[in-house]
């Protein structure tokens, strides 16, 4: 019989207006891979933050190896044997690998000794790392290795992994799973947080399912189908997007040998991009974020300009035009980052409507803003896209991720674009909003627009794209019809974990 490692009893945590965790109880055994499954906003992160000492519970208690466990801060949790691989925000790009790892350790050895240990442990687990490289220069998969090695060097009893595969290529996921099995077989328990069902069925021994902060089920994921798990997680049956069969029209958007510099210090430059999108076509672009996605969207939206001929709309060269002339023609875009890029957090929805709708909707006359008309258009978006908000005067940051994303996509879709490019349209959005957003993109294509969807979520791309290509290190693969593509083929297009072999040498 296995022994209880961590026992969670009635943990409750409330924030103003929302109970993030409501009397959550479950237990994790030694050497077990335990899934914590739930939608965005189901309370997974709050629960994990309590275990890791970042948040104190209002009620309830935890026992670690039979002893009362209530870490006042992450340091105490780490000392007790809890380690965590974060989804975001825990690496320092301007510091090197060894420094990053030292920061996550209580009593790090001397840098030279640490570097040697990193090299040794990382090779032992099949995750090779060079301790002296800057983290900013690493790929997403390599960065995750840094986090994992940082945890493993502490010899943890429980390893928490928060959405670990969201940034990985299929090949990298495979390597990660091998490593996790190895870690579990050494007796370390793993708490695996995800909303990806197939992964959980593949690797987890048991699963606790959260919905609206409550435990709704505990099960053995291998015995359930992905659909059963999904329905437990969402609490209702999901409808699949409808796609009418359409004939494609003429080429609307044409990109010829586009090169663009990297937009941020650690971004990727675009190299010789060529692509055509036809009227009525949905082109899906897969690949791990940071491989030129942002740059590609900026080049099409007009945020970065270049030689006129590199971008053509209906045969007309537009590569040298800024965002507003392009919008006037019908080339619209919705970037990935909602707060701060596609919307201004502290501005009202009315003001945010003006952000992209000013030129195409004639909201500005002789330089003066027609606020009445702007408000009317904002209200129309809110109504059509079912944006849950008190009204158009609400600040963008007061909306939930899903609602704001519906607003941002709605703002572009409602302007009847001829070309729409979106980056990560459903990232961090709950399942029902995601389905709605996908449907609106398909409807747009059905009505004859050319739609480009950039996403890391391959399931999403397979669901809605007509044509698929991959963006890898700033280069775009040749597009292929999405229907009938196998996971292996997609993996090859994404370049797999090509960088891995390079480090192995």
């Amino acid at each position: 019989m296995t022994e209880n490692l961590l026992e969670i009893n009635g943990l409750t945590k409330a924030y103003p207006g929302v109970v993030a965790n409501d009397a959550v109880s479950f237990a994790i055994d030694k050497g077990e891979v335990h899934a914590l499954l739930g939608e965005n906003g189901a309370g997974k992160s709050t629960l994990v933050k309590m275990i890791y000492g970042l948040v104190r519970p209002d009620l309830g208690q935890m026992n670690l190896l039979g002893k009362r466990f209530s870490p006042p801060e992450p340091r105490a949790a780490r000392a007790a044997g809890i380690a965590m691989v974060f989804q975001h925000f825990s690496l320092f790009e301007a510091l090197d690998v060894a420094e990053n790892i030292a920061l996550g350790m209580e009593n790090p050895p001397k840098q030279r000794e640490l570097a040697a240990r990193i090299t040794k442990v990382s090779h032992a687990y099949g995750l090779p790392l060079d301790p002296h490289r800057l983290v900013g220069d690493l790929s997403a998969g390599e960065r995750q290795r840094v986090e994992i090695i940082r945890c493993l060097l502490q010899e943890p009893k429980l390893l928490i992994m928060d959405e670990p595969t969201s940034v990985l290529t299929p090949k990298e996921v495979e390597i990660l799973f091998q490593t996790l099995r190895r870690i579990a077989s050494d007796g370390t328990a793993i708490l695996y947080i995800s909303h990806k069902l197939e992964e959980i069925r593949n690797i987890c021994d048991s699963a606790t399912i959260l919905r609206h902060g409550k435990v709704v089920a505990t099960c053995t994921p291998r015995e359930k189908s992905a659909r059963e798990l999904a329905e437990m997680m969402v609490g209702c049956t999901l409808h699949e997007p409808l796609r009418q069969a359409v004939e494609f029209g003429d080429v609307v958007l044409e990109i010829n040998d586009l090169n663009a510099p990297s937009r941020s210090q650690f971004g990727t430059a675009l190299k010789h991009i060529n692509m055509n999108v036809r009227a009525g076509e949905v082109l899906g672009i897969g690949g791990v974020a940071g491989n030129g996605q942002e740059e590609l969207l900026a080049a099409i939206s007009g945020e970065t300009t270049g030689k006129a001929g590199t971008t053509k709309f209906m045969g007309q060269a537009i590569g040298n035009l800024g965002p507003n002339p392009r919008r006037k023609m019908g080339v619209l875009a919705a970037p990935e980052e909602r707060l701060g890029h596609s919307a201004a957090p502290d501005m009202s929805l009315t003001e945010n409507t003006l952000l992209t709708a000013a030129s195409r909707q004639n909201l500005v006359k002789k330089g003066f803003v027609d606020w009445g008309k702007t408000r009317k258009f904002a209200k129309k978006i809110i109504a059509e896209f079912d944006v849950r908000t008190p009204g158009a005067h609400t600040a963008a940051r007061a909306l939930s991720g899903g609602n704001l994303q519906k607003f941002v996509i709605g703002r572009e879709v409602m302007q009847n674009p001829r070309v729409l490019i979106v980056n990560q349209p459903t990232w961090g959005v709950d399942a029902s909003a995601a389905a709605q957003i996908r449907q609106s993109l398909l409807d747009l294509a059905n009505n004859g627009a050319a739609v480009v969807v950039i996403s890391q979520d391959l399931d999403e791309l397979m669901e809605i794209s007509d044509t698929f290509c991959a963006l890898n290190e700033g280069e775009l693969t040749r597009p292929r019809p999405a229907k009938g593509l196998t996971v292996e083929e997609i993996g090859l297009m994404l370049g797999g974990a090509a960088d891995l072999e390079a480090v192995n040498v």
Binding site: G53, P323, H341, V369
Partner: protein, 361 residues
């Protein structure tokens, strides 16, 4: 301990209440400072805030001074507020004020003793141009070389001060001034003099310009797309770029307008209340205007009120110096305190403060 919780929407009530609270808190803290200096705090506060306007003995002299001092403060602060909203920090308005005065006065002095009616308008244009061109230095350096505009605009204040000193000792020195430093006084050159428009009101062309600037700024900020773009660029620079705002054009505009208005303020001051270029012509209006801009919450109407209040502290400070020997720098410290309290209290409009249970993370 307490915890800050971000409000979904900034509180309108607090946005108005914080400047008032900050003024009250400054009065209290300032009172303590005055008491430490051995002065009666209540009397000092009364002399600073009440007597200039209402005392029978002084009001007739000091009331007009209110507009004289508020005019340049408002004019400069309105200009600064554009940039501050956009996250473009021109803190060298003092230098632009000086150069504006030098250009304007230079034109006036060059035509001395011509009596053409075009001289004063020409001086106004020259003053505005002087301030504008001085502000264009940090603007161009920022847009061309990405040089920090905060440091450049500030360092240029010292350069401007030295140019001013060189001018009042050299090129612009009054040939009939018996070798004393300083230019001819415009009071003796009527065509070029920025006189009081209504006797006893303190109203001169600079004050008129300040009022026009307030109205212009109000319309731009609330109705014009430029006002929207400025606010957008300040709050979310990436969103502004996505929206189609060119950051460089915004930098040139914001620095340009603030330089232009500061230059105007300098010209009206040198051709009117100050009368001449001297080695100590500038009185720190360019820096105090920063406080005015924040105290007015970067809002044109707010800046109008804040400018008047700040002018009051100048006049009241002089009066307190005269009446009770309050040292002049005490007022400067007092004004600095006001900005601190204001910035500190700003938290109330964007956050709710909640008491936190001990030990909670």
């Amino acid at each position: 301990m307490f915890r800050l919780e971000k409000r979904p929407v900034p509180s309108k009530a607090w946005i108005i209440a914080t400047p008032v609270l900050a003024v009250i808190a400054t009065m209290i803290a300032g009172g303590i400072m005055f008491a430490l200096l051995g002065k009666d705090p209540v009397e000092a506060i009364r002399i600073i805030f009440w007597d200039p306007l209402f005392s029978e003995q002084f009001a007739s002299y000091s009331r007009p001074q209110l507009l004289v001092k508020a005019g340049p403060l408002i004019l400069i602060a309105i200009g600064l507020s554009f940039g501050f909203r956009a996250g473009i920090w021109n803190i060298g308005a003092e230098g632009q004020y000086i150069i504006g005065a030098l250009f304007g006065a230079g034109v006036g002095l060059a035509f001395y003793p011509s009596q053409s009616i075009f001289i004063f308008p020409l001086m106004i244009i020259a003053g505005a141009f002087g301030g504008w061109i001085w502000a264009m230095i940090p603007a161009i350096l920022r847009t061309r070389f990405n040089t920090n505009e905060i440091l450049v605009s500030l360092l240029l204040v010292y350069v401007a001060e030295h140019i001013m000193a060189a001018m009042s000792l050299g090129l612009m020195r009054n040939p009939e001034g018996h070798g004393f430093p300083g230019s001819r006084n415009f009071q003796q050159y009527e065509t070029a003099f920025n006189a009081e428009l209504i006797a006893g009101s303190g109203m001169h062309w600079g004050v008129v310009a300040a009022f026009i600037a307030v109205i212009f700024a109000y319309i731009t900020m609330s109705r014009h797309i430029l006002g929207y773009q400025i606010t957008l660029a300040g709050q979310a620079p990436r969103a502004a770029k996505f929206s189609g705002v060119s950051p460089n054009r915004l930098i040139v505009f914001c620095l340009g307008i603030s330089g232009l208005l500061a230059g105007l303020a300098g010209l009206f001051e040198v051709a009117g209340p100050a009368g001449q270029i001297t080695t100590s012509f500038n009185q720190g209006y360019g820096f105090t205007a920063i406080i005015v801009a924040f105290l007015g919450r970067l809002n044109p109407v707010g800046i109008l009120l804040a400018g008047l209040l700040m002018a009051l502290t100048y006049i009241g400070g002089d009066l307190a110096q005269l009446m009770m020997g309050l040292p002049a720098p005490a007022i400067q410290a007092f004004q600095g305190m006001l900005l601190f309290f204001l910035l500190a209290m700003d938290v109330l409009s964007n956050f709710r403060i909640r008491l936190k249970k001990q030990g909670a993370a």
